[in-house]
Point group: C3
Chain length 311, copies 3
């Protein structure tokens, strides 16, 4: 396995199975142990050009718990980008002040350009509608720990599969496992072609459908995502279909005993709050696994694969 | 006395006298000692949905001085609240990344809802026009240290008593002491009914009046607050009364030797800057006591009542 | 030499030559050594009322690398300034929560007023169009390290010399060295009178010209700055001259072997990106020297001139 030290984390496509399994193993350990201060003296720069609660705070908390420190900005408007500076120049500046950069930007491809210019590793924390690989990894950690396995599961991804960056990264990552995927979306928000092409190349089995209720009894995992009204070209179509993409408490009765309901959050109304108390609802646990997963990634990228060896 | 460990700090009504006295005693010690790093390994999340200078910075500085660390956001707009996430979901996320949450929000009651959902303790750092209990506690610490006592004092609260959250929390807290309160405000901004009802129930003596100058010679403490022009229904009334609510240098001559002038800040023009140099003006000292008080609270809530025992 | 301990850093005019040389010597050492945690227990407050990437992040990173901690705000809108508080009151508050204040503000003179009110040292991180002394110091550190000397050099300052705060502070600082200065700007953006007067008083040699290409073969250092279109009274003049203030790759052929091209950044289009790879382009190195220089300043002001003695 290649060493993670100094690797950029940009896409769900960048990982082999043994690498993912290793990240998940370290992530699990992070949740079970006292936090060792292995990143003492290291500085993380968080460059968030789009709003974030979970991703930024969990990365920052992960860094702090491992003994590292954080600088950064929470909004485009407080940076020199506001004065017209390019991302390339911003990166070539910030790399001088930090040992690793975590970046979120509304434009696809900016993460890759940043990595090209940066002398320190770059982690993509959301690149427009394209990818969000650390979310995909934490989703896998959640599935592994809560379902006991990833292989063999029937997993449904539901909602806006065209613009939802989390489902893209998760799909890429799942190509390394033996799963049956179900893509559930309105016709106008179907899984984007480039992801579908990749899955076909990797021979991952998937089916496309419009309604999760038709296949709910089959599923081990249903991963809901936000559908934003403004994504619909035809507003009438939105009004017609939106109820189809809300998971309600009574839907739980149609699910398997081992069924688990996930969501990358934020949720608007795709999952009724009356579902929250069910043991099948694990979306808040996902948020917690996110911190452990990010601790694992920061340790691996800054210290290399053996960083837990001497703990 | 109940242990403070893991208690939420939401309202001035939530404290018994011995509890307040104990907090003030610890706060005083914090000002007199080297800062012990007792909160090493702990993380504070500061969630500020409204602007703040004193409260956020003093909480963060308090946490850092005790060896802890901080994550958070300074504005609603950089969080997922901007994407439509509820406060409940935000709290259930952030509790995974932190050991304690300090929150300011423009809506009354959000603090209590947050505490209900949170598995980690929540401190209310300002809940709309309703309460600001840590401000009330630091006001008491200031009075205790600068006047030598709280019992027996004549204390005037002046300005916007209807929407001013600091005077509400302070009034609730003062129910535990033997004081004479004077509520000084225009008729349309009188102390809100629910506070008055509570004081009556607690048998705290208070009088209501419209002009501080009428009672100034009686007062040991005058606590000024901002009156915002937009609070007045009748703009003409505002123009008529506003001069009545400005404390000027010459007013000092009417005050007792031991008189002290307080203000939660920010001040606009309620106190003339020519008063600032008087030893009777203690509003900037208040800001300093605020840090010590918040160190005491963070220590008590995170470590329990005995946290100073082994120092 | 006067001790730097507790000194405010407000203007390029405030330094003697031996003081600057000492700062540069410490700055160089900071770049060559492991970072010692000499500022453990100290807190820096960064008060940025204008956007910043380099200055804020390099100050914060400098503080963290030396073992200190940081509180602050990244934007005016999240502070009580938004509620109408004065800078004087903000400073008298924040000084209670920090050991040193770094401030950027759009108005000239605010830095000096802040220093007057503050009981802790204040560092000016940009005061409107007036000064930016720590930028001037890092520019000198860059020249010293990259050119081997400051004395004897021909240095061109090009662009908006009227409103560009960095060139003002740098000019003041250069009065302590034997250099030939060339001020290159359109007539309407000539070096401001108060700077020119100071240079004359200090007998620093300078010439004024409109085009850098005329003198390029003479120069050891060319320091480019942004020209903002909106600074021109006459938009037609701007359209006429703007090409004259862009450094292009072919311009390199006219320069000396030891020529170095600098820029305080952010750059918009004053330097073509095709120049970036030249070893003569040192503007990204400048950003790195900025962190070392600020580590030196924080150490000197918080710990005094001997702070490196025991390392």
């Amino acid at each position: 396995m290649k060493d993670f030290k100094n690797r950029d984390i940009l896409s769900g496509k960048d990982f082999e199975r043994d690498e993912i399994d290793y990240i998940l193993e370290i992530g699990k350990k992070m949740g079970n142990n006292e936090y060792p201060k292995i990143l003492d003296g290291k500085i993380l720069a968080t460059l968030f050009f789009e709003p974030s609660t979970r991703t930024r705070l969990s990365f920052e908390s992960a860094m702090l718990r491992l003994g590292g420190k954080v600088v950064g900005f929470q909004s485009r408007d407080v940076s020199s980008i506001k004065k017209g500076e390019t991302i390339a120049d911003t990166i070539r500046t910030v790399q001088n002040y930090s040992d690793i950069i975590v970046m979120r930007h509304s434009l696809e491809g900016v993460d890759r350009m940043a990595a090209k210019f940066s002398t320190v590793p770059v982690i993509n924390a959301g690149s427009g509608p394209s990818e969000h690989p650390t979310q995909g990894l934490l989703d896998l950690l959640t599935i592994k720990e809560e379902c006991g396995t990833i292989d063999g599961l029937n997993i449904g991804l539901c909602g806006d599969l065209k613009y939802g960056r989390t489902v893209h990264s998760l799909s890429y990552l799942l190509c390394n496992y033996e799963v049956n995927l179900y893509f559930i979306s309105p016709d106008s928000l179907k899984m984007r072609a480039r992801v579908v092409d990749w899955l076909r190349k990797k021979q991952l089995k998937f089916k496309e459908t419009e309604k999760f209720r038709d296949i709910l009894p089959l599923l081990d995992v249903l991963y809901m995502t936000r559908i934003q009204a403004e994504r619909f070209v035809d507003k009438e179509e939105y009004e017609k279909v939106k109820g189809v993409y809300i998971f309600r408490k009574k839907d739980l009765t149609e699910t398997r005993d081992n069924f688990r309901l996930m969501h990358p959050l934020p949720r608007i109304d795709e999952i009724s709050t009356s579902v929250d108390d069910s043991k099948k609802a694990i979306y808040f646990k996902q948020a917690k696994y996110g911190m452990y997963l990010r601790m694992a990634l920061l340790g691996l990228v800054l210290k290399g694969n053996d960083f837990m060896r001497n703990l």
